[in-house]
Amino acid sequence: MTIDRLLEGLKQRDPRAIGRAITLVENGDESAQAILSSLDEDLISQAIILGITGPPGAGKSTLTNGIISELRQSRKRIGIIAIDPSSPISGGAILGDRIRMMQHATDRDVVMRSMATRGRLGGLCATAGAAVRIMSSCGCSTIIIETVGVGQSEMDIIRLADITLLVLAPGLGDDIQAMKAGLLEVADILVVNKADCKGADILAMDLETVSRQEGATNQARVSMTVATENKGITELLERIAEVDSEHRDSGEREKRRRGAHDQEVLDWCLEILRPRLLAEITKRDLPLLGDPRLKAKEILEEQ
């Protein structure tokens, strides 16, 4: 596909063009620049970006599927970015979140993309951020980013979101872990999914206690859902809308967009700098002796 045809395709919201554009940006292709600067900034700034994170198996994809169904009833166009870790050994990945969302596969107004972390150092913010921009510029008014809440890259992704949901479920044993990882603090809404299973009420009570201890401004942060039966989704979306309007009024939304923007720019700086710096270091063929930090400073000062 030529770049002109690609840009024209993006204007027409052609699924092939959207898919290809995300690939090119993800691969750091030189056409990324032209793609990203052709986008509709108004649509991008209006979209609402939801981050959904939580331990493996908590029901994030099933819940996302339920949210899609609900939003599609009001004919909203939706984008989904589902991120899974790359294998550190082979660099490959299995991206399986689509399984739970296949009922929307042929709906042209549900734009979905699976993405592997590819072991980037924070660079995920740049690529996922670009995918968000491409989707929202192509008319997606809500973008959902799903990640497994375990590592640093997930925390980076949360920065991209206007609103973050932490999804937990009884019987996973990961709940305390998630709290330790600091996810509780950054989440705007705590979702206890699998409310049909034993232990859901206790988990919800525990979460309420913990979040109160942490002095969260908002006491009613816990929502209960049964994602497999589409239960609690309407209420959850109402809650999301409330938080969104609070954030708009208080300036929190602006503040987060600013934070996300700065983080994305930083990520791109690092993406661009890394290979350049490596080339410079290799070229200098520095002696093995001596302080690496000092050498780094010297190289940077000369750039």
Partner: protein
């Protein structure tokens, strides 16, 4: 900027039978060979598979079938891709497929067919070749 190309493939299972052991086995083997594998699970319609392949911008689609319905379903996926303007995405398939069907399927545009006896290395290199060919056009 650093360019980081990865081969992306979609592994799916059209048709009604519910066994996905074969599909999962291939998905894992491809992951271990460095591919990014979009796994769509069992009981997918050809149209669903084609739509997902396009959104995910994969370099190849791999199908698995144990039910004997491959003779109808594999070509249906090729057709669904063509209808969606994505005839350039190669389709590979595997399953318990008799010799005479292989000829028919290849004639219908499936680029490679694997049977239970095909060594995994051979399968992986076939995927790699299909992906290479696709991204070089």
């Amino acid at each position: 900027m650093e360019t980081t190309h990865k081969y992306r493939v979609l592994i799916g299972k059209p048709g009604l039978d519910g066994h996905d052991r074969g599909a999962k086995f291939i998905a894992r083997a491809l992951r271990d060979a460095g591919f990014e594998v979009v796994y769509t699970g069992i009981r997918r319609s050809p149209e669903e598979i084609a739509a997902a392949a396009i959104q995910e911008d994969v370099d190849a689609v791999g199908l698995s079938s144990l039910s004997g319905a491959h003779i109808r379903l594999f070509p249906a996926v090729v057709e669904a891709l063509r209808k969606a303007g994505a005839q350039d995405i190669p389709v590979l398939g595997g399953g318990v497929i008799p010799e005479e069907d292989i000829v028919t399927l290849k004639a219908a545009g499936i680029v490679e067919i694997f049977t239970p006896g095909t060594p995994i290395d051979k399968i992986i290199s076939a995927y790699r070749e299909a992906c290479e060919k696709k991204s070089s056009v």
